[in-house]
């Protein structure tokens, strides 16, 4: 089984420690939502998983250690990270962006086939292939970022605030697609989201992070049902 097992993960920037021992498990094929206020360390958690910040503790995917590896090694191990702010290569074409998603993969024919498969999720990208990615709308760029991540054929997909800056309708569409991908490809997903309602809608498990610690864990339904949690941590009323 390719479960993600995070145990006692500590991470930070320079001398500043941001994560103070985070532990949780995501079973293969499940969606896990990470919620929490601004500055809680959600982005840092995803960065720690994909090797972009220095860490202590362990994080294994199917028994293979991710923590302490370089980002390109983590990518080779099948972890795709859609970074905060999407990370679009603005001057490059949509096609080049997508192909960069498959950078660590060999096997041309498979990559071509996956490109077609991604157009079934995001038909709009097919009509924009030769266009500069920077000229796409925000929603289209988010779809591009997701499509590009899928080009890795990830075992684990890390999504950092996919709803950022998007209209509600587009956001809902995006989450529907993430759910479809999760269902069809059996991809494990860790999604960081401000829009708790949507994230909990597609997740099985959820964790609330506050100042670098998990202060609450449970099934998505439990978390959603918890009126007090909703108010104090998520800042909205159910």
């Amino acid at each position: 089984m390719s479960d993600l097992v995070v145990d006692g993960l500590v991470a930070g920037y320079g001398d500043v420690r941001v994560l103070h021992g985070v532990s949780f498990t995501v079973r293969q094929g499940e969606v896990c939502a990470i919620l929490g206020p601004n500055g809680a360390g959600k982005t840092t958690l995803l960065r720690a998983l994909s090797g972009m910040v220095r860490t202590r503790g362990t994080a294994t995917l199917g028994g293979t250690e991710l923590a302490g590896r370089s980002p390109d090694t983590v990518a080779r191990l099948g972890v795709a990270h859609v970074p905060e702010g999407r990370g679009t290569f603005m001057p490059l074409t949509v096609e080049d962006n997508l192909r960069l998603g498959a950078f660590v993969r060999r096997g041309r024919a498979e990559v071509e086939a996956d490109l077609e498969r991604i157009f079934t999720y995001f038909p709009v990208l097919k009509t924009r292939l030769k266009q500069e990615a920077g000229s796409l709308s925000g929603g289209e760029q988010q779809m591009l970022a997701l499509g590009r991540a899928l080009m890795l054929r990830p075992r684990l997909l890390l999504l950092d605030e996919p709803s950022l800056g998007l209209a509600p309708l587009v956001t809902r569409e995006l989450f529907r697609i993430v759910q479809a991908i999760n269902a069809e490809e059996q991809t494990t997903v860790v999604v960081v989201e401000q829009n708790a309602h949507l994230a909990l809608g597609i997740a099985q498990q959820a964790h609330v992070l506050e100042t670098g610690r998990i202060v609450l864990s449970g099934t998505a339904e439990d978390i959603r049902a918890d009126e007090q949690v909703a108010q104090s941590y998520l800042g909205y009323r159910v």
Partner: protein
């Protein structure tokens, strides 16, 4: 950064695929015409002008390398002239001391410059921005005194004088024409090499590093590896250009490769157009002619005129001359419709 946020907010989708391919066809057409002109020119021009065009080609090869590093991989180098000098001296020393036939000096010069570029690139490419600029500048500054020191090998400040390659009798070409065609073949070869490199997976990796390091990293692109490789390749192309320079000039001395050369080259590629395929050629024209034009305009302060000319070009064409040409070309099909 400001650039990306600007485009971020743009929601319209202007360039339809049809027009892009029209522009591409236009570009290949222009290239073919240019090539025909390039073959025709040396039979029509006086030897001195042929020599000048030859030097434009030599600089264009060096700028192809600098463009790879600065325009495509997004790094900076103020020491490109040093690798040009390494190529030039490698060729000169091999011809003078080892009596190696001149065509063989090119691959050796390329290899030497590549390896030195690799050696210096490993530490240098850990730095960014201003720090990288300073370290590469230091390379350019230290080179000249270093060349003067190893006098037995390099001829010290006197330099080395060599016999220029002579055209084989069957060609019926004059010396200046022969050298011109050598430079043209090397330039076309280098151009094709770089163009195919950029279309490959490696080219995409370089662009990814340039455009968004964080995203490139999570795609699995090893930043330090590709930056160092770009640095070594750019050094290699400078070395190739340097060896042809030695054949064409028949003389090398430390004073030909001062910091000024590095700065002229960087100015040349920025003015020519970073990241564009025609940038190195336009930049080659710039490096060849603008310093001497500045001299003509005002003998007392060529530096001032040179600087003003750069400012003027950047004001009119912020994306370089290639960008300006591109914008003009794009306008043409639209007007006809």
């Amino acid at each position: 950064m400001t650039e990306s946020t600007k485009t971020d907010e743009k929601t319209s989708a202007p360039p339809a695929p049809v027009r892009t391919s029209a522009v591409a066809r236009w570009r290949w057409g222009a290239l073919a015409v240019l090539l025909v002109l390039a073959v025709y020119a040396p039979f029509q021009l006086a030897p001195f002008y042929v020599f000048q065009l030859t030097m434009v080609l030599v600089y264009a090869v060096a700028l192809l390398g600098l463009n790879l590093l600065v325009g495509h991989a997004g790094q900076i180098s103020l020491g490109h002239g040093a690798f040009f000098a390494i190529g030039a001296y490698t060729a000169a020393i091999l011809m003078e001391r080892e009596a190696l036939p001149y065509p063989l000096t090119l691959p050796v010069a390329a290899a030497v410059a590549f390896l030195i570029g690799l050696g210096l690139g490993v530490p240098a490419m850990r730095l960014r921005g201003l720090y990288l600029a300073l370290v590469t500048l230091a390379i350019a500054i230290f080179l000249v005194p270093l060349l003067k020191r190893f006098e037995e090998l390099t001829g010290g400040s006197m330099g080395l004088t060599l016999a220029k390659p002579q055209p084989p009798a069957w060609t019926g070409l004059a010396e200046d024409q022969w050298l011109y065609f050598i430079a043209l073949i090397v330039a076309v070869g280098a151009f094709l090499l770089v163009a195919s490199l950029l279309r490959s997976r490696v080219g995409r990796a370089l662009h990814a590093v340039r455009d968004n390091e964080i995203a490139a990293e999570v795609m699995g692109v090893r930043l330090s590896f590709y930056k160092t490789l770009a640095f070594a390749w750019s050094a290699m192309l400078a070395g190739v250009a340097g060896s042809v320079y030695t054949w064409v000039i028949g003389f090398v001395s430390p004073d030909s490769f001062t910091v000024n050369l590095s700065i002229n080259l960087l100015a040349g590629i920025v003015v020519g157009g970073l990241g564009s395929l025609s940038g190195p050629v336009l930049g080659g024209l710039f490096v060849m002619f603008v310093p001497s034009i500045s001299q003509d305009i005002n003998d007392a302060a060529p530096g001032v005129i040179f600087g003003l000319l750069i400012i003027a070009v950047m004001y009119v064409a912020p994306t370089g001359l290639a960008g300006l040409a591109g914008r003009l070309i794009k306008k043409i099909p639209r007007k006809k419709e």
